[in-house]
Assembly symmetry: D2
Homo-oligomer: 332 residues x 4
C-alpha cells in the first residue's frame, strides 16, 4: 500500500485525490495547500490529514508525493521530496524556466527515488493505442505526424500574463506527445504565432494561435496546431502518416445521439475540456506510477521528458519571434 501526500488541492489536485483513493494499492494520507480551506475540504472528504507541505515532505510514513502546486514551486519541491526519499509524481510543466529545470535535473540526477512527470495524455487509451499500433509497425515507417489541439476558450488574461506563453503553457503537451509518438526529439523547430483570438493576449506579449513544424534528423516531420479557442469544445486530434497507412485519434464526443432534420444531421460536440476528455488518462497515469514505484521499474515519463518538452517550447518561442528555424541543440 503506497501512502501518498498530495501537495496542492486545486482543480487538478482534486482529480488526483480521487485517483489515489480509488486505487486498490494507494491511500491518500495527507494534503497541503496554500489555501487552507481547499486542503481542509479535501482532507475531510477522503478522511486524511491536512498539514503543511514541509510536514508532508518530512513525514517518514509517506512513501510518495504528488506535486500539484503552482508551476514555480515544482523544481524546489521535486528536489526536496526526492532528498527526503519520496517517489514523486509532478504535474507538468516541470518549470517555466529551462535553466531552473536543468539545474533541478542535475540536483536529482543520482537520487534513489523516481520522479515521474504528469504528461497524462500519454495514458489516454486512444493515444496510447496509436503509439502501440505505430510501434507494432501497423502503418509501416512513420513519416508525418500532425497534432491538432484547440482549447474551448482562452484562460483569463491574468493567467496568460504569468503562463510563460502559449508554447510553454499549452503546446508543451503537444511537444511531449510528439516526443512520445516519434520516440525522439526533433532536430529543429520552426514556429509561427499570432494573436487573433483576443488582442489582449497579443498586448500581453503572447500568441493565441500557433503552428510549429518539427524536423527530425531522419527526415520525419511533425506539425502542431494550437488555438486558444474552439467554441464547439475541446478539439484534440492526432494523426500519424506512415509508409503503409494512417493512424488517427479523433475527438471523444459527449454522447452518441444524432438528430436528422431538414436542417441537417446533428451529432454531439467534443467533450468539453481536459478534465472530461482525459479523466481515464489521469487514472491510468496514477496506475502506471503506482506500478512503477511498487515494482521498482522505471517510471514511464521521466524528468528528462519534461525538460525536453520545455526546451522545445523555448525553441518554438524563439522561432516565432525571429522567423528563423531554431535548432534544439542551440537552446539552453
Amino acid at each position: 500500500m503506497l501512502r501518498v501526500g498530495l501537495l496542492g488541492a486545486g482543480r487538478i489536485g482534486i482529480v488526483h485525490a480521487k485517483a489515489i483513493s480509488s486505487h486498490p494499492d494507494s491511500r491518500l494520507v495527507a494534503v497541503s495547500d496554500a489555501v487552507a480551506e481547499s486542503a481542509e475540504k479535501l482532507a475531510l472528504q477522503y478522511q486524511c490529514r491536512h498539514c503543511s507541505t514541509d510536514e508532508i515532505i518530512a513525514d517518514p510514513d509517506i512513501d510518495a508525493i504528488l506535486i500539484a502546486s503552482p508551476t514555480n514551486t515544482h523544481s524546489d519541491l521535486m528536489e526536496a521530496a526526492t532528498a527526503a526519499g519520496k517517489a514523486v509524481l509532478c504535474e507538468k510543466p516541470v518549470d517555466l524556466s529551462l535553466q531552473r529545470a536543468r539545474a533541478c535535473q542535475k540536483v536529482v540526477a543520482n537520487r534513489s527515488t523516481p520522479i515521474m512527470i504528469g504528461f497524462n495524455r500519454r495514458f489516454d487509451p486512444s493515444l496510447a493505442g496509436l503509439k502501440a499500433a505505430a510501434d507494432r509497425g501497423e502503418i509501416g515507417k512513420a513519416e508525418l505526424l500532425s497534432i491538432h489541439s484547440f482549447d474551448p476558450s482562452p484562460p483569463p488574461i491574468e493567467y496568460v500574463r504569468v503562463s510563460g506563453g502559449l508554447f510553454r503553457d499549452m503546446m508543451i503537451h503537444d511537444f511531449d506527445m510528439a516526443n512520445f509518438i516519434m520516440g525522439d526529439v526533433p532536430e529543429s523547430i520552426i514556429a509561427v504565432g499570432s494573436s487573433i483570438v483576443d488582442p489582449e493576449i497579443g498586448a500581453a506579449g503572447d500568441v493565441d494561435t500557433a503552428v510549429a513544424t518539427l524536423s527530425y534528423s531522419d527526415g520525419r516531420i511533425a506539425v502542431i496546431k494550437n488555438s486558444r479557442r474552439a467554441v464547439y469544445g475541446y478539439d484534440q486530434r492526432v494523426e500519424l502518416l506512415g509508409s503503409e497507412g494512417l493512424l488517427q485519434v479523433n475527438n471523444v464526443i459527449e454522447n452518441s445521439m444524432v438528430k436528422s432534420t431538414s436542417a441537417g444531421v446533428v451529432s454531439a460536440r467534443p467533450t468539453y475540456f481536459f478534465l472530461e476528455r482525459y479523466m481515464p488518462a489521469y487514472e491510468a497515469e496514477w496506475t502506471a506510477f503506482v506500478a512503477a514505484v511498487t515494482s521498482g521499474s522505471p517510471v514511464p515519463v521521466s524528468l528528462d521528458d519534461g525538460v525536453d518538452a520545455l526546451a522545445m517550447a523555448e525553441a518554438a518561442t524563439r522561432s516565432a519571434q525571429s522567423g528563423l528555424s531554431v535548432k534544439l541543440a542551440d537552446v539552453n
Copy 2:
C-alpha cells in the same frame, strides 16, 4: 445519508456496491448473498457488515434495500422489504411469472415506501437525451420507433433453460425502452423468433433471434430486433422517426482511434457488453433513486413499469408461438 442494505453480491451487486459507496448521500452498510464468500468479500472492500438477508430486512438502521438477488426471489423480497418500511430498488425483471408479479403488485400497492425497478438504460445519457429531445418536440410527432439490441454472445445453455426465454430475459429491456420513449404501452404485439445462432437454444425451447412489432392505439409502430450473438460487440441502437426528423442513439465505441491502410479504414468496435456500455447509466440510476427517496418524490421507474414490460414479454412469447397478433389486454 441513506443507509443501504444490498441483497446479492454477484456481478451486478458489485456494480451497485460501487455506485452506493461513491454517492455522497448514500452509504453501504450491509450485504448478503447465498454464497457467503461473495458477500464477505464485498463487505471487506467497502468496510460494511456481512449478514443474512433477513437481518438486513429487519435492521431498523437500514433505510433502503437494493435487491440484486436471483429473479425468483424478487417478488418475495419486494414484499418483505416494503413491509419492513424500506425503500427498494429492485433489479429487473420483476419476476418470470406475470401472475406472481401481479400478485406482488397488489400486495405492495398501498405500502408507504417506494419500489423502483432497475431499468438502467432509461438513465443512459444518450437514450435519456433521445427521450428528452422527443418530448421537446425536436422531431415533431413520433411515428416509428426501432430498437436494435444484440448481445455479444449467448449465455450458457444452463442459463437459457431457466431464463424464461429471450422475450422475458433479453427483450424485456427493449420493451421497457419502448414504453419509456413512447410514453405508452402498445395495444398489440406480433413477434417472430428463430433458433439460428445455436441449435441447443432451440432444443431448450427458446429462440436466439427475434423481431417484435408493437402497434399503438394511436397508429404509432415500434419494432424491436434481438440477437443473442454479435461477434463484434454489444450492439445497442435506438432510433425514432417523427414527423419532422429522426433521432438516433448509436453505439458507444471502445476508443476513438482509426486506422487507414490499403485494406480499408478500421475503427473501434462497440464497447463489449452491458457493464461497459451502461456503467454511467447505473450511476445515474442510483442518483435518481437517492434523489427520489430523500425528497419524497415518485421514483422514475415504478413496479407497474416492470409489470408492463413483463406482460409484453408474455404477449410476444405467445405471438411467436402462434403466428397471431396478440392484444396486450388479453394477456394475464
Copy 3:
C-alpha cells in the same frame, strides 16, 4: 451495337435515355410516349426517332426495348415485345395484379429473348458490395436482415389511390432486395401498417408507415421498415447480421462538409431521393443488361424475380389487414 427503343419518356425514361446513350455498346434509336411532347423532346436531345409504341415494337432494326411506361401496360408490352423477338428491360413493378403477372409469366415462358426487371438497387455499388461480401462468407452464415427504407415525402394522394398500396408500390423494392441478399424467398410474412403520416392516405385505404417481418424456411429472419416521409431526405439503409459479423450499407450524403459550432456538429443530409441516390445503379443496371444480351448469358434479374416480389407484396398486404402470418405458398 445494341439498338434500343424506349417506351416512356417520363422522369425515369429520361434517366434510361442517358444511360443508353452514354454506353459505348448501345444506341437510342426511337422513343415513344403517350404525351407526344415528352417523346419529341427526348428524341431531339438524343438525335433519335419519335414514333409510336407499336412502330417501335414492329421495327426489325431495333434489338432491345426498355419499358418505362405506366405499370398497367407492363405485362402487355413484355408479351408483345418478346413476341417480336426483342430483348426487354422492364421497369418495376411488373404489374399491380399478381394474377396478370403470373399469366404474363406463362405467356413469355418459352420466348427466346430475355426479360430483365429493373430492380436497379441490386446494382448499387454499396448494396451489390454487401451481397458480394455476404456471398464470400465475410460475416459467416446470414441470420437477420434489416432493410430500412424511408421516402423523403409522400406522393400525391392521386398517385396513392392508384398505386396498389404501400406494399406493392414502395416495399416491393425492399422485398426484391431481401430476395437478392437472402438468395431465397421467405416462407411466410407478418406485416403491420398504419396511416400516421397523412390521414388522407388512410382514407384512401392505404398505409404510410409499415413493418414486415419475413421468416425463411431455414430459420433466417428479415425485417423491412417503410415510411412515406423522412423530412431529412431519402433514408436507405440495409444491414445483415451473420454468425461472424455485420454488414451495413449506410446512407449516401449530399456532401462531405461538417460544421462544428457551439450548437453541435452538423453534417450533410442523405441525398434527396432515388434519382440522386441510385443514379450510378441505373447506369450499372444498363451495363449489366447490355452485357447479358450481347453475350447471350442470363439476365441478372428475371421476370420470376419480379413476380416473387409482387407475391410478397400481396402476402404483406393480407397480413397487415388480418393480423395473421401469411404463407407465401398460400398467395395466388
Copy 4:
C-alpha cells in the same frame, strides 16, 4: 452554343472532352495532340475534327480553347489563343517559371477575351460549400486554415525530375485553395520539406513530404501538409477554424458499406485519386466557364490567381531550402 477546341487529348483532356460534350451550351469541334492517335481517338468518340494546334487557334469558327497540353506550352498557347480572340480555359499550373508566367500576364493584360485557370477544386461542391459558409459568416471570423493533401502514390521519378518540385507541382493546388478560402494572399511563407517516402525523389533534388505555414497580414495563419504517398487512397481534407466554429471538408469515400467483425469496424477508403474525387468539380468548372464566357461576366479564376499560386510555390521552395521565412513581396 460555344464551339470549343481542345488542345491535348491525354488523361485530363479526355475528362474535359466529356464535360464539353455533355454541357447543353457547348460543343467539342476540334482536338489536337502531339500524339496523333490520342487526338484521333477522341475525335472519333465525340464526332469532331482532329487537326493541329495551329489550325484550332486559327479557326474563326472556334469560340473557346481549352488548353490541356504540357505545362511548358501553357504561356505560349494562352498568348496565341487570346491573340486570336478565343476565350481560354487553361489547366494549372500556368507555368513552372514564375518569370515566364509574369511575362505572359503582361502580354495578355489588355486582351478582350478571358483566361480562366483550371483550379478545379474551387468547384468541388464540398469545398465550394465551405467557402460559401465561411463567407456567410457561419463560423464568425476566420483564424486558422488547415489543408491536408496526400496523393495515393508518388509519380514516376521521370515525372518528378521535370515537375518543378513538390511545391510547384502538387502544393500549388493547395496554395490556390488557401487563396480561394482566405480571399487573400499571405504575407510570408515558412516551409519544411523532406524526402522520406522515396530516396530517389531526394536524389532528384525534390521533397516528397512537406509542410508550409502561411502568415497573413491580418494575423490569420494557414498550414498545408503534403505527402506524395497515402497507401489508403487520395486524402484530401480542409478545415477552417473561426471565432464561432469550425468548417471541415472530409474525404469522399468509395462506397457506404461498413463491415463489423471481431477484428473491428471497417469502412471504405477515400476515392482513389483526383479523377474520382474531383469529377463533379471538373463538370462544375466547365459550367462556370461557359456561364462566364456566354454572359460576359468575369471568369471565377483568373490568370492572376494562377500566378499568385506560382509565386507562393516559389516562396515555399526558397523557404524549405533556407530555413527562413520568405516574404511573398520578395519573390520575383
